[in-house]
């Protein structure tokens, strides 16, 4: 755990110097200004969950992959591979560090639009699990392509699948249509948080389910990691 924390500090520093943190928070600030200025409050229970999943939950696909390509260009992962850091610790710290930035930006958006109260704390577990899931999927896709532009072509269908639960959120299909997708649970949690407090049991079950899938995705990313 100590090594993961230290690796996360390294990756956070790299993300900051590479402008990833600035992109996340710039987008968050822009989003808050836009929604507060132009979207009526009655729509917030739809808009906020969509923003959280669309901008921060699933953006990990691109952000983590971009860092992976950056590291490949520098061959810096090769340097980490000859330290006591294990491959799982390496992948987990990369995905978690990106996830932390996404969660912080997501919390900023939620607090800026819905308000800053104790519900914000409930936002963290499902959002973090979703970012780990999407970041790991981003690494898996990145492992298949040597160029970022080709990666984008491969990632677009995956992000489209990530966006399917929006159809049920906006009432275009029945609510449970995409409940088999693990990140639908995150959207459901976000929607409840934006409107009111979800039931504790359901919240815990959905979050646990998300973390389970996030862990599976992380293991998958570890197996195909490009050093």
């Amino acid at each position: 755990m100590r090594r993961v924390t230290r690796a996360m500090r390294l990756f956070l520093a790299v993300q900051y110097r590479s402008g990833f943190v600035q992109v996340y928070f710039g987008l968050a600030l822009f989003t808050v200004i836009l929604v507060r200025g132009f979207v009526p409050a009655s729509f917030h229970r739809l808009v906020v969950p969509a923003l959280l999943l669309g901008e921060y939950g699933t953006m990990g696909v691109f952000m983590v992959a971009a860092q992976s390509y950056l590291a490949r260009g520098e061959r810096s992962t090769l340097a980490l591979s000859v330290t006591p850091l294990t491959s799982f610790e390496r992948v987990a710290s990369l995905v978690l560090s990106s996830g932390l930035v996404a969660v912080a930006a997501g919390v900023f958006v939620f607090a800026g639009i819905v308000g800053l109260d104790w519900r914000v704390a409930l936002l963290v577990p499902p959002l973090l699990a979703t970012t780990v899931l999407s970041g790991s999927v981003g690494l898996v896709i990145a492992s298949r392509y040597s160029e970022f532009t080709r990666f984008l072509m491969g990632a677009i269908p995956v992000v489209t699948v990530f966006s399917l639960p929006f159809l049920s959120l906006f009432g275009l299909v029945p609510r449970l249509t995409f409940s088999w997708l693990p990140w639908d649970a995150a959207l459901f949690s976000f929607a409840n948080l934006a409107a009111d407090v979800p039931s504790a049991g359901l919240y815990v079950v959905l979050s646990a389910q998300l973390f389970l899938f996030a862990l599976i995705a992380l293991r998958w990313a570890e197996r195909v990691e490009v050093v």
């Binding site: 520098e74 591979s81 000859v82």
Partner: protein, 291 residues
């Protein structure tokens, strides 16, 4: 022995021919062991296997008395790896690169400022590493590989991209560490570096070791006994003598005695000459038509 390989073989998945074939070699404590060969001979593959970057070899390779494949992640506390190319976090400073890196080890580490100074690199430089020259980046990569005070130090072409002054500095550092007990596994195709630094060298061609010996014994085994003498008086001339021939030897002594000698050169082969003779390849990997 610090490192002992017996029957080390390796095949890249899908490759027709084996990258490494039945290698036997060992490295003792404080020994500088040179692994020499042309590009594509299997030097880097061997280093990748020994540092667990590649997996799945055949044979037995023990480091610190334990098979490399069975080594836990703590193995990396005891080895240092300097790659052939800089692989740094280019947007971070040198101090940050070393500072973050040293935090991963569970053993006492070097002070970054000391190792930076030792390698003639700036301390507290606020510029990102991306603004540094290639030679500086290589020296920083070398510095990083020393952060955990390794017992076994893997070096891949450590003087690449260095000006003569810094190449001397690096060679001195390698000698200093070896004298302090660090074992060095030096991968190179620079025979001058190998000749100067290595206690023993292995010649690797097409994934096979064709000879292992000390540079001195290799050169002695392939020496010729010819001496060239240049004289200035009565007129400039150059003579060659074979010292194994008693008559020629006597003529050599008379020449030295009777004339003003400008130069005398023995014609001992360089390590590169020996490599060409033994392997029949030059260091670019092309056949030479020799032996």
């Amino acid at each position: 022995m610090i490192l002992e390989a017996r029957g080390l073989s390796f095949n890249y998945p899908g490759a027709g021919r084996r990258a490494l074939e039945d290698l036997d070699f060992s490295v003792g404590a404080g020994e500088v062991f040179g692994f020499l060969g042309p590009n594509g001979s299997g030097k880097s593959t061997t280093q990748k296997l020994l540092t667990k970057i590649l997996r799945g070899y055949e044979g037995r390779v023990e480091v610190f008395g334990r098979d490399v494949e069975e080594q836990a992640s703590s193995y990396f506390n005891s080895i240092g790896v300097c790659f052939e190319f800089p692989n740094l976090y280019e947007k971070l400073t040198a101090d940050e690169n070393l500072g973050f890196y040293r935090a991963f080890f569970d053993v006492p580490t070097e002070e970054p400022s000391e190792i930076l100074e030792r390698l003639d690199l700036p301390v507290n430089d606020r510029r990102p590493v991306s603004s540094w020259s290639k030679g500086m980046k290589m020296r920083l990569t070398l510095a990083r590989s020393l952060m955990n005070r390794p017992r076994l130090w893997f070096l891949d072409e450590p003087t690449t991209g260095q000006d003569p002054q810094h190449a001397v500095l690096i060679r001195a550092l390698i000698r200093e560490r070896a004298q302090a007990g660090t074992s060095v596994f030096l991968t190179t195709h620079d025979m001058t570096v190998a000749d100067e630094l290595c206690d023993r060298v292995a010649f690797l061609v097409d994934g096979r070791i064709v000879r292992v010996d000390t540079p001195r014994d290799l050169k002695l085994a392939h020496r010729n006994h010819r001496v060239t003498v240049s004289i200035a008086e009565p007129k400039k001339a150059e003579y060659e003598f074979d010292l194994r021939d008693p008559a020629d030897k006597a003529r050599f002594l008379r020449t030295v005695e009777d004339h003003e000698v400008e130069t005398i050169h023995t014609q001992e082969p360089s390590l590169e000459d020996v490599f060409l003779t033994v392997t029949g390849r030059d260091l670019g990997g092309a056949p030479t038509g020799a032996e």
